[in-house]
């Protein structure tokens, strides 16, 4: 089946913009990585070839194509190929546990998988292995991205094309990206920050600058590479920036930088002044597509840092528990409406209707669970979470998902996941467990490793005879955290249930 590359066919999509640049400047560099460079024409040819291969294996309009990759050129080719076929991409991390990936493939209803080496170089070497099975995929959403779910299973957020194009075009305008600008691509594809990195250049005639695979595990190497290859634009989490900073030696490696995924502090913004030209702070859950609120920040910096104002096409509403607007300037829960709102959680209508709620006029709002306040300056300020979702090195983690996995172990009575900085200078996960005497850490580690990605693994598993409850009889995370920190600071070994004295 020949693949149509008429931009008109993809009106309102990333592809339309990319195809126009490919026609206008076919010889411009679209993507470069440590093994070479692809022009716009070559990238399009690679994507068309990949699309033809996927099509021959049964992919068709509306398919959901599982794309296993970490990041890089091979992923970009697979993503464009998927969209050329009018199919939806389901990015999966090849380093995540197999059982978790199988669940995601099943839940998303994937009928075709495009898998490649864990770290992709240039296209020719890494054209994906394709496996196909007949499926019932049919809807041309742009992508389905899984996030941590509190009930013990990841949730597949289904995002449509207009939502993605809206936010990326807004970013391109805000950062004033121009043809030829180089934008850094380093984020894992299961994190939606990877989308602006790889697609903002392609809709503005720029170049995707893919970091060498080693960068992900070696901040010193990453920093050295950046000093040799400074970029015009980049996105990064505060955690990543903190790791890079000591090795950047104050060199300006980012002309423009968007910080996102976690709260940006004034101290970090100050530390970044040497290495960043212009700095933006962004906020947004996966459910409303990449980012919903953003602002450029300028010194002098003061905590709390503003997260900005809603991007065009999105609405932000600060509401109380009965969904009424809170008085101006007070903290309330943030709801987001507009073009960025996801179709929902794939295969989970109950979960979808629980958090994608009614908005006046027939639209829907996403209930973020984040607490915010609108300042006198009209800017939004983040005030933490109203529930048990946390960020671990930029990754969104539902503590309930870790607990649900632990509680499936028959010997476990109670399991409570907590976050603490008692032993470290950054938040780490710990799991407090009460279990049948003799239960060991290994009994819990096996299922945790089988079902959860590396960033969700607790740093330590601690056993207690009983976990404290609050007055309503529910296990109290706050009280448990206190116990865990007491134990960590005492430095006592924790290897088995019932080897500790009663702790209350």
């Amino acid at each position: 089946m020949p693949v149509a590359t008429d931009p008109e066919r993809f009106a309102g999509q990333i592809l339309e913009r990319f195809l126009r640049h490919a026609a206008a400047t076919p010889h411009a560099a679209a993507v470069m990585d440590e093994t070479g460079e692809l022009t716009y024409a070559a990238l399009l040819a690679a994507a068309e070839e990949q699309a033809a291969r996927l099509s021959a294996r049964g992919a068709r309009r509306g398919s959901r194509i599982a794309v296993e990759s970490r990041y890089g050129t091979g992923y970009l080719v697979a993503l464009l190929a998927t969209w050329l076929l009018e199919a939806a991409a389901v990015p999966l991390d090849p380093s995540a546990p197999a059982e978790r990936r199988r669940y995601q493939i099943r839940q998303a209803g994937c009928d075709v998988a495009a898998t490649g080496p864990a770290s992709d170089g240039v296209v020719e070497r890494t054209v994906a292995e394709v496996t196909a099975a007949p499926g019932d995929g049919r809807d041309p959403a742009a992508y389905i991205l899984f996030t941590s779910g509190s009930t013990g299973a990841p949730k597949g957020v289904e995002i449509e094309h207009p939502a993605l194009l809206n936010v990326l075009e807004y970013f391109v305008r805000a950062l004033a990206l121009r043809p030829g600008d180089r934008m850094l691509a380093h984020s894992n594809i299961v994190f939606d920050m990877s989308l602006p990195e790889m697609l903002m250049p392609l809709i503005s005639g720029g170049t995707v600058a893919v970091t060498p695979p080693r960068s992900a595990r070696n901040p010193e190497f990453f920093a050295r590479w950046l000093r040799a290859h400074p970029v015009d634009a980049a996105c990064a989490t505060p955690s990543q920036l903190r790791m890079l900073l000591p090795f950047l030696h104050g060199e300006r490696v980012f002309a423009k930088l968007i910080s996102g995924g976690e709260a940006l502090t004034a101290a970090l913004a100050d530390d970044l002044r040497q290495v960043v030209g212009r700095l933006w702070n962004g906020y947004g859950p996966t459910e409303t597509t990449v980012a919903a609120i953003i602002t450029e920040v300028r010194p002098p910096y003061r905590d709390p840092m503003p997260i900005g104002r809603p991007i065009s096409g999105l609405g932000a509403h600060v509401l109380d528990e009965r969904r009424r607007p809170v008085p101006a300037g007070t903290v309330g829960e943030l709801y987001l409406s507009g073009i960025g709102v996801a179709r929902g959680y794939v295969g989970s209508p109950e979960l979808t209707s629980r958090v994608f709620v009614t908005a006046p006029g027939g639209g829907r709002m996403y209930r973020t669970g984040d607490l915010v306040r609108v300042g006198p300056d009209g800017q939004y300020y983040f005030h933490g979470r109203g529930d048990d979702q946390v960020k671990i090195r930029g990754n969104r983690v539902e503590l309930g998902e870790i607990e649900a996995v632990a509680q499936r172990v028959p010997a476990v009575f109670q399991a409570v996941a907590v976050v603490s900085e008692a032993l470290t200078d950054r938040p780490e996960l710990y799991l407090a467990v009460s279990a049948v005497p003799g239960t060991s850490e290994a009994d819990l580690r096996a299922p945790l490793r089988r079902l959860l990605p590396a960033y969700m693994q607790p740093r330590r598993v601690l056993f207690f005879d009983e976990l404290p409850r609050n007055t309503s009889g529910k296990t109290s995370r706050l009280l448990v955290r206190g116990l865990v920190e007491e134990r960590l600071k005492a430095g006592r070994p924790i290897t088995q249930a019932h080897t500790e004295g009663r702790v209350t």
């Binding site: 509306g62 929902g344 109950e350 209707s353 009614t358 027939g362």
Partner: protein
């Protein structure tokens, strides 16, 4: 005057795109949404939605694709 959370009755509501949500009974349903006639506890309403909302594509998209 505090609301007894456990006693709140919900209604299943739907919009023109045939997307479902729930709404506390007794408060005016937002414009663009209407009740489908199912009421119950929050969980009962969510369970009903789980049964009836089998195609999560917006109606306009289903129509555009000729599969409505």
């Amino acid at each position: 005057m505090s609301e007894q959370v456990n006693d709140v009755q919900y209604a299943v509501v739907v919009n023109d795109e045939e997307q479902y949500s729930i709404w506390a009974v007794g408060r005016e349903v937002p414009a663009g949404w209407h009740a489908v006639g199912v009421r119950g506890s929050r969980e009962e309403c969510l369970e009903h939605i789980g049964r009836v909302w089998t195609d999560m594509r917006p109606k306009s998209l289903r129509v555009a694709m000729g599969e409505s």
